[in-house]
Symmetry: C2
């Protein structure tokens, strides 16, 4: 909560993330003098965080930020690296497998395999869902720093179905269980008739990079005798992917 100029620079970046704007519009938007805005933009341009569309024209976000996050390549490489493991899981279990990450405090689905079956599972790719209601979300949450876990649990927790666990204490217990087991089952807690199991892809420092999951219609998945085996299979695939990514 210090360093005024940094705070203001981010105000500008956030404003520009909506749409490209000129100095004047921008100075209205953030209630700062034009000269201040122009100077900050010049500084941001030197860092490639913004670019000027034409000489003497409006500004838009540059790719300096993407360079820093490595998002374009990072995420893409993750998808590429994960795909073989997803296909392997699908081949072995004949159910849909998927890949997700945390984005803005939610689970974000990056990729999903498909199976030929009469019963189709919808493709969640590109969708967000609450961390507490999906298997991927639970394994991601379980390996987050404690303060971020608490920030998530402090929010109102939506009950997506009648089986969704929304009691923070119950979830905390569950997260501990997930950490010791290495995988998480979720039974019809996000949408009815859909069960899923997930395991975390952890970085060297123990933080979650992503989650792998398998999901299938409740009437056939999982075979109760195989639930544990499926959990181990996802966890094994996730660990192989983690080893590959941190190599």
């Amino acid at each position: 909560m210090a360093v005024q100029s940094v705070e203001r620079a981010f105000m500008l970046l956030r404003a520009l993330s909506q749409e490209p704007l000129g100095v004047t519009d921008l100075s209205d938007r953030v209630s700062l003098p034009k000269s201040t805005v122009a100077r900050l933009l010049a500084a941001l341009e030197a860092e490639n965080a913004v670019t000027q569309i034409a000489v003497g024209g409006a500004y838009q976000l540059g790719d300096g930020l993407i360079d820093i996050t490595g998002a374009a390549s990072g995420t893409r490489n993750l998808i590429t690296a994960a795909r073989p493991h997803l296909l392997e899981l699908t081949d072995a279990l004949h159910e849909v497998a998927g890949l997700s990450i945390i984005d803005s405090g939610q689970a974000y689905y990056l990729d999903q395999t498909h199976i030929s079956s009469d019963i189709q599972i919808r493709d969640w790719t590109g969708e967000y869902s609450p961390l507490h209601a999906v298997a991927s979300g639970l394994v991601l949450l379980a390996h987050l720093p404690v303060d971020q876990q608490e920030k998530c649990l402090a929010q109102p927790l939506e009950a997506c179905t009648q089986w969704t666990v929304v009691d923070p204490d119950a979830i905390r217990d569950r997260l501990a269980q997930v950490r010791s087991l290495g995988y998480a089952w979720v039974y019809e807690e996000f949408v009815e008739d859909l069960n899923s199991v997930a395991a975390p892809v952890l970085s060297e420092n123990g933080l979650p990079l992503a989650a792998l999951h398998i999901q299938g219609p409740a009437y056939r998945f999982p075979d109760p005798d195989l639930a544990h085996d499926h959990g181990l299979a996802v966890a094994a695939a996730a660990n192989r992917l983690a080893a590959q990514l941190t190599a």
Copy 2:
């Protein structure tokens, strides 16, 4: 080149983009006093650009930057949206189709279709290539603001094959031609025996969002009589995708 604190904040972000670091390491890395680093980090944490791994522990990049760029969802949605168009092109022309964007002044390949054929084209997904030597690069470059075009042409231009055009003036002529035609052909200029044609996916303000391309082995692609038709086909697909993205 003004606003010291913004410049320093980006130094820190760049250092952290390599690996998570503590205040002390960081202050060595960027040659700034610890107190200054701690204060800037506090400011960046308030913006969610960095997060502290544990209380009193090291710092790593947060997802505030990703929120701003919208990179995770943006890029992913682009791939999802483009895939049907790529498949359509592959079905129609029986050659490989691909999707790329500009990242850090290079063409970055996001996705590519596959065909069953004796002659395999390698999958460029996740690779970078110079803008002036590939069809996608040329169409992206052609619709960039002029100053960025010139920045690109001012660099030493690598001759990837004996047919690569590296004369800036010749490239400028070519870019003008690309803008009027709507597509670009490149004949064995990036790798030998590989030809490709690309068209730009333009945003409402005329800036390039991405490029679609088709590529095939030189001995069969393109049929000289159909080169123009293929160009129009890619351009049409790119325009449909653009319309869909800006809707």
